[in-house]
Structure formats: C-alpha cells, structure tokens
C-alpha cells in the first residue's frame, strides 16, 4: 500500500534521506533550508536506522565532515542554501577531485551576497559549471515538486556512487517551503559492505593502503587524472533526464527547470487555450544537460525561451545546444521575485508569437 504524506519539500528531503539508508548528515542552519536538519533531529534517525546527524560549526566544517565520511564509502549528505553553498565550494572541489560519492542539497535563495531569503535560480552557473576551483562537474538534479525532492535523494546517491562523484540537488526556497502530497519510498537497509578498492576504513592485510586525496604534484599524473575526470563527465550523458509537455506539435518551446518549470506548465496550458502551440522541456538533470534533445527540438520549433529565476544562466546552455539554428531568448525574475504565468506568456507573445 502506498505511504502518502503531506510535507514541505525540505522535510521530504530529510524523510527520504532516512528511508534511503543514508549513514550521515552534516549541516549548518540557514534559511530557507533549516527544516532539513530540524526534521532529521526530530525524527531521531539514530534510533530509526542508526543514521548520524551532526550540526557542524560552519558550512566549511560540514562539507569537510562530508569529505572525510564519504571517503569511507558511507552514504553521506549535507544541505544548505546559497551563501552556505558558496562557503562549501573549496570542499566540493576536493570531493570532486578525490572522486567521492555524496549528496549536497542547495535550497537556493536570491543573491548575490547575503541577498534575500526568497527563492531564486541564480546558482545555476555555480552548480553546473564548477563553483569551486578546477575543471570538475557535479551531477545536478533539479526537482520541480515535493515528490521529486524525495525521489531525487535516492537517485542522487545512485548516480553519485555509479560515477564516484558528488551529486547536487539544485532546488529553491519555493520547492523547499511548499507543501504537497508525496508518496514515500519504503525503508532501505543501510549498506554494510564497502568497496575496499578505494575506501579509507583501515588498511587490511589483503590490500594496499588506500589514500583519499586530490593532490598530484606530478603534472603528468594530474594531467592523466583530469583526462579521466573529463571522460567520466562525458559518460554521464547517458543519464540525462528531462520531461516534455505538449512538445509533439509545438511551434515554440519553453525551457525551464524546478520552480520556473512549474510556472511554465501553467503557461503552456494558457497558451494552448488561446490556440498557441507552445511546449515545455523541463531538464531534470542540469548536468548532464539535455543538449542533444534540445538540438533535436531546434529542428522542429521556431524559437525557444529559457525561463529562469535569474538574469539568464541556463539560457547559455540552451543556446550552445541550439547552436544558432533558431532564436533563443531568456525571460526571468531576479532578486527573489517570482514571475507569474501571465508575465511569461506576455513575454513569449511579445518576443515570438506576435512578431513572427
């Protein structure tokens, strides 16, 4: 029988983490994601599954706790919001360089700086292009519902361990704070067997010592390591995920993820009711990005509009995918304000539908 609950997005992440058999959570309070750790503490996960939950002294500490624990093969995660994620970037770069699996959740708020506590999608560049130093990529998942907040915890760990790479759930204060019905997964057992080829759990007699490091002072070795990383990132394309709404006969395509995609679903309905053939492509993975599908769609539609709660970040990846074949524009709100479906539709009509 299905187990249904009415939950905030942040709570769904926390509950899903316990049910996914996560071994450890290390975090630091910040609005609008504090419910993740609050919910975990309230649930006594050490009694439910043996999961460790620790409030660190800073995001700098929590990401490094994650780094240490991830190096032992355990399933570990943290969550934060934009300014806190910025503080974590050094650690994330180390985790990516050392090729450790873990899950990071960013419930984005408006920036730059201390910004605002209202929702935003302005951390797209930071999430998908690196953020920290060096050539590395995260697996980036973009939930658009409380259900996906829960589901992507398990998916994030699956991909993180498949590629031995940190995975990031990129969401925002809107999805984190809103309540929806969510179907919860059954409880998974915590893993007790670890891949002895790389984990630092103590050198046993039957293997060489394992070292978790991102340091290669020899440029030839660091070169090889970087090539290996790039090949890995390239191979992630096979796990690209996206959802298409009303795309089969569309003349115009909206491209939006997360909370913006929710708004654009309404825009598609409104446009269709006016007889305009508008579709929506919603990337569920932002890295890997659905470039191949967008290139394919560029042969079918007359124009695309990237709709984001930012000054225009994902639109650059849409343009790269489309490669000049059709016009690509951006529409978005900045600073924590949210566009309405009317705003988006007006812009779409002004830019494309009226003008063509």
């Amino acid at each position: 029988m299905k187990e249904l609950a009415l939950m905030k997005g942040n709570e769904a992440i926390a509950e899903a983490a316990i049910r996914a058999g996560v071994d450890g959570y290390f975090g630091y309070p910040i609005t609008p994601q504090s419910e993740v750790m609050e919910y975990l503490m309230l649930q006594k996960p050490e009694e439910r599954t043996g999961m460790v939950v620790l409030q660190a002294e800073s995001e700098v500490a929590s990401i490094n706790m994650l780094y240490g624990a991830a190096g032992t093969g355990k399933k570990v995660m943290t969550s934060s919001s934009s300014p806190g994620i910025s503080l974590m970037q050094e650690g994330i770069s180390y985790i990516a360089g050392a090729e450790l699996p873990c899950l990071i959740v960013n419930v984005v708020r408006g920036g730059p700086g201390l910004g605002t506590i209202q929702p935003s999608q302005a951390d797209y560049f930071q999430s998908t292009k690196g953020g920290g130093h060096g050539d590395y990529r995260l697996i980036v998942l973009a939930p658009a519902s409380v259900q996906e907040m829960a589901d992507f915890v398990d998916l994030g760990f699956e991909l993180a361990f498949k590629y031995r790479n940190p995975a990031l759930i990129l969401t925002d204060g809107l999805i984190g704070q809103m309540m929806e019905k969510v179907e919860l997964s059954p409880q998974k057992e915590r893993v007790t067997e670890f891949d002895q080829s790389w984990v630092t759990t103590g050198k046993t007699k039957d293997r060489e010592r394992n070292i978790i490091t991102s340091l290669n002072l020899d440029p030839d070795l660091q070169y090889e390591h970087n090539l290996k990383l790039q090949a890995k990132y390239k191979s992630m394309e096979q796990d690209v995920m996206f959802e298409k709404t009303e795309c089969d006969d569309a003349d115009f395509l909206l491209v939006a993820y997360g909370s913006s995609a929710r708004i654009c679903q309404k825009v598609v309905e409104m446009a269709r009711s006016r007889g305009k053939k508008v579709g929506l492509l919603r990337p569920q993975t932002l890295f890997p990005f659905p470039s191949v599908e967008l290139a394919r769609m560029a042969r079918k539609v007359k124009g695309m509009m990237a709709v984001e709660l930012s000054a225009g970040q994902m639109v650059e990846d849409v343009k790269l995918a489309v490669n000049g074949r059709i016009p690509v524009s951006h529409y978005g709100m900045v600073g924590g304000k949210i566009h309405s479906p009317d705003d988006v539709l007006n812009e779409l009509e002004k830019k494309y539908i009226g003008g063509y």
Binding site: D23, G24, F26, V52, L54, A56, E57, S58, V60, A61, S62, N64, M65, L66, Y67, G68, A69, A70, G71, T72, K74, V76, E90, G91, Y94, A98, V199, T200, T201, G202, K203, T204, K205, R209, N210, I211, I212, T213, S214, L215
Partner: protein, 250 residues
C-alpha cells in the same frame, strides 16, 4: 667475529617499523617531522591497530604524510583536518582516527575546526607539530611565530603590536570540556623522543576507551625556515621556544 654471527635476532637493538613505507622522506634533514611520523607508526604497530587506523594529512610540509605512513589516509584541505576526522569517526566510532597538522594549519586557518572538534569532544587524536613557521610555502610568519622572530613575512621580526602576539592554542583547548588529554612534547633528543612516544601511546589508548579528544603538541624545529643548521635550530628551540611553549602535560 664474522658479520653473519653478529646479524642475529637476539642482537637486534633497533629496526625501522614496517608501517613506515620505503618512500624517501620529503622533509629537510634535521627536521622533526620524520621522527614524529616514525613514533606514531611505531605505536600503531605496537598496539596492533594498523587495520583500524585512519590518518588525516593536512596542507603544509606534512601534506604528503600518507606517502610515508603505511595506513589508510585522507588528505584534508588546509585547516579542515579535525572536521574530516569528525566525519570519519562519527560513522566509524570503533576506528582510530588521528589528524597530523602544523601550526599554520591548526592554529590559523583551521582555528574554528580545531576548537569545535575539541569542544565536541570528538574521540580523535590531534598530532600538532609546532615549529613556529610556515615551512612548505617558504618560511612565512605563523600564529605561533615568537615575538621578534624573523620570517619571510616578518623580515624585521614579529611585531606584536601590529601583527598580534603568538598564542598558545594548546593551552586554550585544554580548557574545553570535551578535551581529555593535552600535552606538549619534543623530539629533538633521545630523552624527549621516549617521552613523546609514551604520550602518543597514551593518546591512542584513550581513543580506545572513548575518553574524548586528545591533543599532543610537538614543539619542533624548522632549520630551513629558521635559516640555521639542524644543531643550532635545536639549541635555539630549547632557548627560545621552550620557555614560551613549556614541555609537559597541560
């Protein structure tokens, strides 16, 4: 007497612990790091805990500690070793987890991680090598550089008025409830080496008993950074460092 008659087990007075790898130490001749490495590995061997020990290497001269210690190791970002150790120990409470850190790493950039790991009483051991200078980056001023001491970023000597005075983080963390055992040792002479080894053993034994955090500060020399011969640096250390950083349990 022939050589083969001399080479017999009963005549063995010293051997290198197999827990030190065959890699050539990257430390300057005369530096204390190699001795501290060896002592820790000897204790791990003697306690028979190699299979359950995880070391955390810092950023600094000992960034490559994992090349020399034949145990599982994780290399931490600058100053973050106590947080990295916390993550491991919390999920593997039965393992022995230690950090190996220098003064810049532990007492400057990693001050917050150090103090909070100590305050939470993480059941780990911190080995803190204090040579009063940033060795690896070329001899810059450290939080533990003595007043008047010259470094590449205090070329006219540390001026306490403008640069702040050196501080004793070991005495500071000794005040915290979560800290169980704090001691200051040295490894420049056979007597101190024997004492230091006992302290290392005690610290790791305490981890087994789940007593909370232990921290051993090793006041050490940096003959290259101090621009002295190894012998002179040890004499200078005794005359200048030891009065400010006194030996013994705190």
């Amino acid at each position: 007497m022939e050589v083969k008659e001399i080479i017999r087990p009963e005549n063995l007075v010293y051997r290198r612990t197999p827990l030190m790898t065959d890699a050539n130490l990257s430390y300057c001749p005369g530096c204390g790091h190699g001795t501290v490495h060896r002592l820790i590995m000897e204790v791990v061997e003697e306690m028979g805990i190699q299979e359950d020990t995880i070391g955390i290497a810092p950023v600094g001269c000992s960034v490559l500690a994992y090349d020399f210690m034949n145990i599982d190791c994780t290399q931490a970002a600058h100053g973050r070793a106590p947080a990295v150790a916390t993550g491991i120990k919390r999920l593997w409470p039965d393992k022995y987890v230690f950090t190996y850190q220098g003064d810049g790493d532990l007492a400057a950039i990693g001050t917050a991680e150090t103090i909070h790991a100590c305050n939470r009483g993480e059941n780990i051991t911190i080995f803190f090598v204090n040579n009063g200078i940033y060795g690896m980056t070329g001899g810059q001023m450290a939080p533990t550089t003595l007043e008047g001491m010259k470094s590449s970023t205090s070329p006219y000597g540390r001026n306490n008025a403008t640069m702040g005075p050196p501080y004793k983080i070991t005495e500071m963390v000794a005040q915290l409830e979560g800290v169980h055992y704090v001691t200051r040792q040295a490894v420049h002479k056979p007597g101190p080496v024997r004492k230091a080894k006992k302290a290392i053993r005690k610290a790791l034994e305490l981890q087994k008993e789940n007593k909370g955090l232990s921290l051993i500060e090793f006041v050490s020399n940096c003959n290259s950074g101090w621009k002295m011969t190894p012998n002179d640096s040890n004499t200078w250390m005794e005359e200048n460092m030891f009065p400010f950083y006194p030996m013994g349990d705190i």
